[in-house]
C-alpha cells in the first residue's frame, strides 16, 4: 500500500499520542515545537522512530523546514516515493 501524506500523518499522530505528555487534541496542523513543546533534540529523536517505521532517512536540513505534523508527513511521503529534492 502506498504511503500517503494522510496515512503517514495519522501514523505520526498515533505514535505521538502514545506519549502521555503530548496534548490529546493534536491534529495534522499542530506545530511540533510550539504545540507539542518538543525541543530540537526531542524532534530529532521522534523523527528517528518514524524513519524506522517507514524505512527512510530524513536529512537534517529537511527538518529545518518542517513546522507541522502534516509538513513532516509530506516530507516523509516524498522521501518514501523517492521524489525528495
Amino acid at each position: 500500500m502506498a504511503d500517503t501524506v494522510a496515512s503517514i500523518a495519522s501514523m505520526i499522530i498515533d505514535k505521538l499520542l502514545a506519549n502521555p505528555k503530548v496534548p490529546r487534541d493534536i491534529t495534522g496542523e499542530s506545530k511540533i515545537v510550539e504545540d507539542l513543546a518538543f525541543d530540537s533534540l526531542a524532534v530529532m529523536n521522534f523523527v528517528m522512530e518514524i524513519e524506522d517505521e517507514l524505512d527512510v532517512s530524513v536529512p537534517l536540513d529537511k527538518l529545518a523546514d518542517i513546522r507541522t505534523i502534516n509538513d513532516l508527513a509530506a516530507c516523509l511521503a516524498s522521501l518514501k516515493a523517492g521524489t525528495a529534492s
Binding site: D39, S40, M44, M48, D55, S57, V58, P59, L60, D61
Partner: protein
C-alpha cells in the same frame, strides 16, 4: 523596532528559573586560580576538581610551562595571522610533523581549537553531493560542522552500527562520498564507541570513517593514540580528529590522515583559513606535553585505576552511573531541581563537577558529569566519594 532578543524569551525564563533555585549560576563558576591540577580555588575554598577533562594533569606540566615561557620570550605572544598568511611559524609545522609521527599518519593539520578541528575538517571533507552520517549523540562541533558544509546530513542511533548499516543501505544508489563521524569516548556519558564494528560497516558500504578522539587521545590504547589503537582498527579510520585541550592540557585541535587529499583541506577549510593560528607558546607547550604523554605511559595506567575507583565508588553509593569504567562518569538524576541542589551542595562541600542539563544531555535527564585525572590521588578520590555520599543523603534522602 523588533526586539532582537525576543526569540530568547523562553531561554530567559528558563535561566531565571535556574538561578531562582540556585545560590549561584551553575554556568558562571569562576575558578579564582588552580592550586594544582586537581585542586582549584573556588569562592575562596580549595575545591577538588572533578570536571576538567584534564585527564593526565598536563595543564600543570612544568616542562610545558617552561617550553611556553622560553618561546614567549623568544617569539612573542601571538602570530596575529592565519595559517595561510603570516600565521605559520616553524613551530606549527614542527607540531604537525610530530603529531603525524605519533599518530602514525602521513598528514596532520592543526587548528586553533578542537571545536574548529571538527568544524574545519568535516565541513570541508563532506561537500554538496556527499552524505554525512552522524552518531545521534555527536558533540555540538560535529553538528555545527554539518551546518557549515553543504552535505546531506543523516543521523544514526547512538553507538548502533546496525542502524548505521541500515541507513547506508538506503543510500546504496547515492553517487556522492559518504563520511561517517563517530567519537571515541562520548563527552557527556563516557560511552565508548564500538569502533571496530563501525569500521566493518564503513568497509561494507565503501564509506569514509572519521573518528573524533578528543576524549580518548592520551587515554585509550597502549600508546595513547585513542580508541582505534585500542581496538586495533586504525587502518580503517580514514581521518582522526582530536584536541590539545584535554589530555595535553593546552588548547587547539588536529586532523590527521594517510590520505594525501588532506593537504587540499588547508586551501578550502574556512575555520582553518579565516582565523588566527595558535600562539607560538601554546604550540611549544603542546609539543612538550605530547613528549611527556609519550614518556610517561604510567599516567594512562593510573588514569584507568582512578577511573575504576571513582566509577565503582559512585556505583556503590547507589547513584545511577554507567556500568563500564571510563574517565568520564555521568551520574544521572531524575530532574533538574534535584540535579541543581546536588551540584550546589557538592560545590559547597568542596567538589567541582560539571552540571549538564537537557537538551545538552542525550535524554531528558540531567547529568552530573565527573571526569577523573591520572594525578588524582586515591585519597582525593575517596574524599570526593565521601562528599558524594553526604550530598546524596542531604539531597536525595
Amino acid at each position: 523596532m523588533t526586539d532582537i532578543f525576543a526569540k530568547y524569551a523562553g531561554l530567559k525564563t528558563a535561566a531565571a528559573g535556574l538561578t531562582a533555585h540556585s545560590p549561584r549560576n551553575p554556568f558562571g563558576v569562576v575558578i579564582d586560580h588552580p592550586v594544582s591540577a586537581t585542586v582549584g580555588l573556588i569562592e575562596g575554598r580549595e575545591t577538588l576538581l572533578f570536571g576538567t577533562n584534564n585527564y593526565l594533569g598536563l595543564s600543570q606540566s612544568t616542562a610545558a610551562a617552561e617550553a611556553a615561557i622560553g618561546t614567549v620570550r623568544r617569539e612573542g605572544v601571538g602570530t596575529t595571522g592565519s595559517r595561510i598568511a603570516n600565521g605559520t611559524y616553524a613551530l606549527h609545522r614542527k607540531l604537525e610533523t610530530r603529531l603525524a609521527e605519533v599518530l602514525r599518519r602521513r598528514h596532520c593539520m592543526i587548528f586553533s581549537t578542537g571545536y574548529q578541528a571538527n568544524l574545519g575538517a568535516i565541513s570541508a571533507l563532506a561537500g554538496k553531493d556527499d552524505v554525512l552520517l552522524l552518531d545521534a549523540d555527536s558533540h555540538a562541533s560535529i553538528y555545527d560542522a554539518s551546518r557549515l558544509g553543504y552535505a546531506q546530513v543523516i543521523r544514526f542511533r547512538h553507538n548502533d552500527p546496525a542502524d548505521l548499516d541500515r541507513r547506508l543501505s538506503r543510500l546504496k544508489d547515492h553517487q556522492g562520498a559518504k563520511l561517517i563521524v563517530v567519537e571515541g569516548i562520548y563527552s557527556m556519558t563516557g560511552n565508548v564507541a564500538p569502533m571496530r564494528e563501525f569500521a566493518e560497516v564503513k568497509k561494507k558500504h565503501g564509506a569514509y570513517l572519521l573518528a573524533d578522539e578528543a576524549h580518548s587521545f592520551g587515554v585509550l590504547g597502549e600508546n595513547g593514540r585513542g580508541l582505534a589503537e585500542r581496538d586495533g582498527c586504525e587502518d580503517d579510520v580514514d581521518f582522526v580528529v582530536g584536541t590539545f585541550s584535554k589530555s595535553l592540557g593546552t588548547v587547539g585541535g588536529y586532523c590527521a590522515s594517510n590520505l594525501d587529499g588532506l593537504e587540499l583541506i588547508r586551501l578550502c577549510s574556512r575555520p582553518y583559513m579565516f582565523t588566527a593560528s595558535l600562539p607560538p607558546e601554546i604550540i611549544a607547550a603542546t609539543l612538550a606535553a605530547l613528549d611527556e604523554m609519550i614518556a610517561r605511559p604510567e599516567l594512562r595506567t593510573q588514569l584507568y585505576a582512578n577511573a575504576k575507583q571513582l566509577n565503582h565508588g559512585l556505583h556503590a553509593l547507589g547513584l545511577k552511573t554507567s556500568a563500564h569504567v571510563s574517565p568520564v562518569v555521568a551520574v544521572t538524576l531524575d530532574n533538574v531541581e534535584q540535579a541543581l541542589a546536588f551540584w550546589n551542595r557538592l560545590l559547597e562541600l568542596g567538589v567541582y563537577v560539571n552540571l549538564s542539563l537537557p537538551p545538552a544531555t542525550p535524554d531528558e535527564h540531567p547529568l552530573l558529569r565527573c571526569s577523573v585525572m591520572a594525578v588524582h590521588t586515591p585519597e582525593e578520590i575517596d574524599r570526593a566519594l565521601g562528599i558524594f555520599a553526604q550530598v546524596k543523603k542531604d539531597v536525595l534522602g
